[in-house]
Amino acid sequence: MTSTRPLDRFRASGLLWPLVALLVLLAANAVVRPSFLALRIQDGHLYGSLVDILKNGAPTMLIALGMCLVIATRGIDLSVGAVVAISGAVTCSYIAGAGDPTGAGAAFAGMGIALALCAVLGLWNGFLVAVVGIQPIIATLVLMTAGRGIAMLITDGQIITVRNPAYRTVGAGFLLLPVSILIAVAVFALVALVTRRTALGLLIESVGINPEASRLAGLRARTIRWTVYVFAAICAGVAGLMISSNVSAADANNAGLWIEMDAILAVVIGGTSLAGGRYSLTGTMLGALIIQTLTTTVYSMGIAPEITLVFKAVVVIAVCLLQAPKARAVLLRRTRRRHTPPDPDAEAAGRPSTHTPTSAMVEKVAQP
């Protein structure tokens, strides 16, 4: 299996290219605008471009974490953008209609209701995918299309603005660092702990490789798939709270528009295969940071913000192509294995990380 030397293990983890991309982006920024790396403390808050990137990237990170687990089970969740809109819409309309629209009680109750509703939406997605057995991409397309309509229904087509200090903390508050990034990092730590320190991560990956075989092996494949969709929806709900609380308003039309695409990109850039069976949470976080840094870079370089999309496209294609030979090598080996013993050429041709899903699993099982 892989060597135990730290550098090799790092290369094998597939985090090399995303990290290089992020560092190149940051370096390019620092060269063009030396003040980019500057951090200053004002009123007990940390300010600077780097902090901005973290703060604006928090919703994408959070959604990407949920998406990462869904993709690991060979699924996809297109509805997260709509869930973002619904979550903000529910909270803002609850707070606006509450007896005391500025109190913390209204904010917490509103957020609680919103997250509960998001969990129900996740249950719905999971039901369609895991129980009815519809392809994930279509099952979640239903909610993606209808969800924004539902959000508009809740807000009655209006942009609802609220003035609630407690609610504002979620997206715009500071505890030295922005509260939103603290939430995202906390969720990341929690997910990493729960999936990587227990067998859950391994089970999720095995469901992604072959749901039927996993079920026959005694895993509750259905429950696992169901759970990841609920988790993704709750993550999207929290991200929706951040986005709407940052501007103290719920915009059913534009909140979280295309954020599902950003989240999927973040996951893919981070080295998680859309074919399922293998995922990297750290890579996903790096991917989300790359996307946000790219956006911030374009803003700060004075290029029209709309053109960000061109850069995004270039980065996606570049990262995917860098990862593609690996996919080819894996595929070659699999097809050849049926006829001949493993070909050393295919081994050598592999990129730094040539884990087939099975080898990744064997390795994990081998680790205590």
Binding site: I134, I138, T145, A146, L265, A313, A324
Partner: protein, 336 residues
């Protein structure tokens, strides 16, 4: 029913006596047609003036570009792929057309330019998908970002089209009977549907597309030109998007980078409602046409109602999608 609705009714069973006589495959298309008739019946029963030739003609006029998009998407989805870039390519086409005309290029040259651009984008995406084995979802997502971004490279503001050729072509009405008239866009869209029906259901290319969608490895082992077809469907989709973009610029008489946002979802929804399986290997072009018409009728119903807000359209489309997907599960019993 009226003149324009009859051919649809007549054509629908035309695809049936072909090679595939498995009833299960045709049921979704028939269900879509029944749904269309039912929705139209509801409209006729509830609103005065709903049952008129012009309402049907308007269905085609207002959705000509979507029909073309859905046709291109059908090819891609039949091979088991997906093309998320179509909406963005429509926007890019309107933008290039408007900017080209503004710069004083002759209209035919602009049209050729747009068509070449759409096909090239499709070709590039198809090549990357096939030869680098990256999921169509991600590649066409990148294509979508690229095309949208390029729109804004051409120009951030909306550009109106003042070219007399384009304007005459856009506003010219073809009278079908005393009170009913259609536009040239409808004629183009229906011509494309006819060509697509022939290509997908009557040529070797189309048969290979079904084979690739059914099982790519088997298709390859049978010696079918998998590479050519897999890349070809994305070229077709790109070309259709460019044509749809031209029709859309005729409809809006402007080019703008924010045109057709989310139209790829409408196209996919129409194809799914039309009975095409997203896992590939089954589907009919005419089903997609019916899918578009169903979406169109829903919009017309909501605008006739007047009191319902436009977001009900989205909820209705989502519900329909769900209905059809569940129905597909029941009839097909195929694993995802």
């Amino acid at each position: 029913m009226t003149t324009s609705a009859t051919p649809v009714k007549g054509k629908s069973p035309l695809a049936l006596p072909g090679r595939r006589s498995v009833p299960g495959r045709v049921v979704p298309v028939i269900a879509t047609f029944v749904l269309f008739v039912l929705l139209f019946g509801v409209g006729t029963a509830r609103y005065d003036g709903f049952l008129s030739g012009q309402v049907v003609a308007n269905l085609f006029i207002d959705n000509a570009f979507l029909i073309v998009l859905a046709v291109g998407m059908t090819f891609v989805i039949v091979t088991g792929g997906i093309d998320l870039s179509v909406g963005a390519v429509v926007a890019l086409s309107t933008m290039v057309a408007a900017a080209g005309l503004q710069a004083g290029l002759p209209a035919p040259l602009v049209v050729l330019l747009v068509l070449a651009m759409g096909s090239t984008l499709g070709l590039l995406m198809g090549l990357v998908i096939h030869y680098f084995e990256i999921q169509p979802f991600i590649v066409t997502l990148a294509g979508m970002f690229l095309a949208r971004g390029l729109c804004f490279v051409v120009g951030v503001e909306s550009i109106s089209i003042k070219d007399p050729t384009f304007r005459t072509f856009a506003t010219a009405a073809i009278p079908l009977s005393g009170t009913v008239s259609i536009t040239w866009s409808v004629v183009i869209a229906l011509a494309i549907v006819a060509v697509a029906v022939w290509v997908l259901h009557r040529t070797r290319f189309g048969r290979t597309a079904y084979a690739v969608g059914g099982n790519e490895n088997s298709a390859m082992l049978m010696g079918l030109p998998v590479a050519r077809v897999k890349v070809g469907v994305y070229v077709i989709s790109g070309l259709c998007s460019a044509i749809a973009g031209l029709l859309f610029s005729l409809y809006m008489l402007s080019g703008y980078g924010l045109h057709a946002v989310g139209m790829e979802l409408d196209a996919i929804a129409a194809v799914v409602i039309g009975g095409t399986l997203l896992s590939g290997g089954a589907g009919y072009v005419l089903g997609s046409l019916l899918g578009v018409l169903v979406l169109g009728v829903i919009q017309t119903l909501i605008s006739f109602q007047g009191t319902l807000s436009s977001w009900w359209t989205k909820i209705a489309i989502g519900t329909l999608l769900l209905l059809f997907i569940v129905m597909q599960r029941v009839f097909m019993r195929r694993q995802p």
